[in-house]
Symmetry: C2
């Protein structure tokens, strides 16, 4: 079971730490140093004396007591290291990056089993093997980049595939998402996606815990456990989205070869996720986008105002929303119209034209917030044809998103012309 030593270790030892930051054992140390891990950091490597400025131990037996052991050494050397740490250093948490276990061979499966037995016997927890690691606001024990912003009210992300976790985070970070925790469970030798979810459920704190969970799953080994804890978390106010990959016949063959996942029919998966209340996604972009939408308060109703400075995207969005159960009710206000430039429209979409200003946007949002009772939420589309900067518009948008009762969904269409302004907008939070 996941424990405090994994989530908030006071000491970490990297077995196989290295000066070469293109190697997992070097990169994880660099990540921990770069992100100012506050606890004690130890490195074990028989061939070095100083590693990235830290004194290097030649043998794990020389270490003091250690909370979390990270292994970046060949598979065949792992069981002995785990034994030393678990039995003589009171180590209760392990992350094993190394591959070459049950995903590769019978011999690997035996090594993996041996490690699990040692960890179980000493009451510890094991993430991996064959994973990229774990991140929480307390430590960044992964050998990959990018490192997202880690805050208690970010998103909890559990992934059955390490590289996929990286690609999803890259997309999510670009879209402004922050994380509360990231678990790459790898071979799930002791702890799989289900067990992480169980922990998050059983230790859920309505005031402190993140209310958003994102999952990438290739194999649902314990559907009952998944259903139980996902439903429970959702009853406690959480929102969960998941990709379950490997559900087509060919995809399930691919998943089996990737992580040894068992086949499961697409219909069964759909039914299970639906019953649990999980939003099913089919691509990394979709998962990251749904995660972003979850950061907004839930819609109090299904009536949306679309506010735009460009007609076309508003027409497409109106199609997409109204084809999926969201109403775009007609609006009328000669008073509001008189405050906009000639040619504007307030019929919903509210189009305040390419020349529209930040002041006009603020005015429109105030009308939607306070006057239009038939509106539950707003979507604001604002890009730029590249004539001038639009920082002021994005500043207004950020302020209104904080102050309005009704949820506001920003849609920032210009990924080149407004690149800098979007980065600024994201930096505001």
């Amino acid at each position: 079971m996941i424990n405090q030593q994994l989530l908030q270790p006071e000491s970490i030892a990297i077995i196989g730490g290295s000066n070469d930051i293109t190697k997992p054992g070097g990169k994880v140390l660099k990540n921990l140093l770069d992100h100012h891990f506050k606890g004690k950091l130890y490195v074990v490597n028989p061939k070095e004396t100083i590693i990235q400025g830290l004194e290097c131990y030649h043998d794990a037996r020389d270490l003091p007591s250690i909370d979390l052991g990270i292994l970046a050494i060949p598979a065949r050397l792992c069981p002995e290291s785990v034994k030393v740490l678990a039995e003589t250093k009171n180590t209760k948490a392990f992350i094993i990056f190394s591959a070459g276990f049950h995903e590769e061979s019978q011999e690997g499966a035996r090594l993996e089993q041996e490690i699990v037995e040692t960890v179980n016997k000493t009451g510890g927890c094991l993430i991996g093997p064959n994973c990229i690691g774990v991140m929480t606001p307390y430590h960044t024990s992964v050998f990959t980049t990018p490192i997202p912003e880690l805050v208690p009210d970010g998103v909890d992300f559990i992934s059955g595939s390490g590289a996929t976790a990286v690609f999803i985070m890259e997309y999510a970070i670009t879209n402004g998402l922050k994380f509360s925790s990231v678990f790459s469970v790898g071979n799930s030798a002791q702890i799989g996606v289900e067990e992480v979810l169980e922990y998050l459920d059983m230790h859920f704190d309505p005031l402190q815990s993140s209310k958003i969970k994102l999952l990438y799953i290739e194999s649902i080994e314990k559907p009952d456990k998944l259903l139980k804890h996902a439903s429970s978390l959702i009853r406690k106010g959480c929102r969960i989205a998941a990709i379950k990959a490997g559900t087509s016949a060919a995809g399930s063959r691919a998943a089996t070869s990737h992580t040894g996942a068992l086949a499961s029919s697409d219909t069964a998966v759909d039914a299970l996720l639906r019953k649990a209340g999980i939003v099913r996604c089919h691509s990394r972009q979709e998962l990251a986008t749904v995660g972003g939408i979850f950061t907004h308060p839930p819609l109090p109703g299904n009536r949306m105002a679309i506010i735009t400075h460009a007609g076309g995207p508003a027409v497409m969005l109106t199609d997409a929303l109204s084809n999926n159960g969201i109403e775009i009710p007609p609006l009328e206000s000669p008073e509001l119209l008189s405050k906009l430039y000639p040619g504007s429209s307030v019929a919903n979409p509210i189009d305040f034209l390419a020349t529209g200003t930040a002041t006009q946007l603020a005015e429109i949002i105030d009308y939607c917030e306070n006057r239009f009772e038939q509106i539950d939420a707003m979507a604001v589309i604002f890009g730029s044809p590249g004539l001038f900067e639009v920082y002021d518009v994005y500043k207004v948008l950020d302020e209104k998103m904080r102050s309005c009762r009704k949820p506001i969904f920003p849609i920032l269409t210009s990924i080149i012309n407004v690149k800098k302004e979007i980065e600024y907008f994201i930096s505001l939070g």
Copy 2:
């Protein structure tokens, strides 16, 4: 009808040119200068003497003969300027940026009608009003950025909405797409999407013309014309993708207010596009992606090899493809497997692991190209967990895409870790 003066003008006059590059009349001049327009460039502005380094004319009457007139002046002044150019300067092509015509008022509709009559009488062509302009390899007569790379074998792009055209191009450029022409038809006073398509069809040259057309349409005014020329172009070997927005009830209200588009039912649009052989898209990302796929040779069959260095994305892609009619046939080759690192798989997906090298990728692609007869095409997934640079892999990928008979679709998953390498890959073409 579109003419040579619009596509390859030898002289351009900007009526309402300006030193202020945050204004359309200033920005279009800057775009033409920055992109080295080879013909003669004239600027008319009654209040200036030098504009962006060019001598300024105070009155259009003082100009020499002009091929293309670009108007960036208030709507009410446009009819007179068009008259002067068309009747005394032999101007046969016009682009009018200005808004305030039939989309705004009855008076505007009258002005627009007057302009069309003048242009028709003198046998010229008119793009707009209320548009962002036109680009070809010969000139960049738009007041927006970004300017894509313009080459004869790029994509022809026709848009019924200027801002939407910008947002679609931003996405397309980021994904490496090049353009052969861009037409923003605005109010379509004389020339709409259908007329541009007609021109491209009637002047189609199997050796010279672009074979890819992308359309953003809010209103199909002449379904017969669209059907006729789209089908004809497709018979000539072209591939066409289109967004038709404003097909939901609410969306059609939005489109009417945006460009005065008439309502059309979604089913009717679907049937029309299907009959013509046009691939229908529903978002700007989808249109840009389909445009990118069109740059590959057509699939000779439906059997795909998925080559990857990361299991998860390959599982998702296998699901997506095999759920949509593409086969991912099982493969076997102990010989190929022996050239990869332990733990790799060649069962399809071919997974050569996170540690896989450029040499191994080349080897795998050669097997798919020459040995695996049950394979028609390849998808290559390659991102990075951020440990080291992967320029060499992307170089191999580019070389193989050029030399292989079987189409190769690159899927570059790491938008942060491999940002620079992706830019390099795109720069290779």
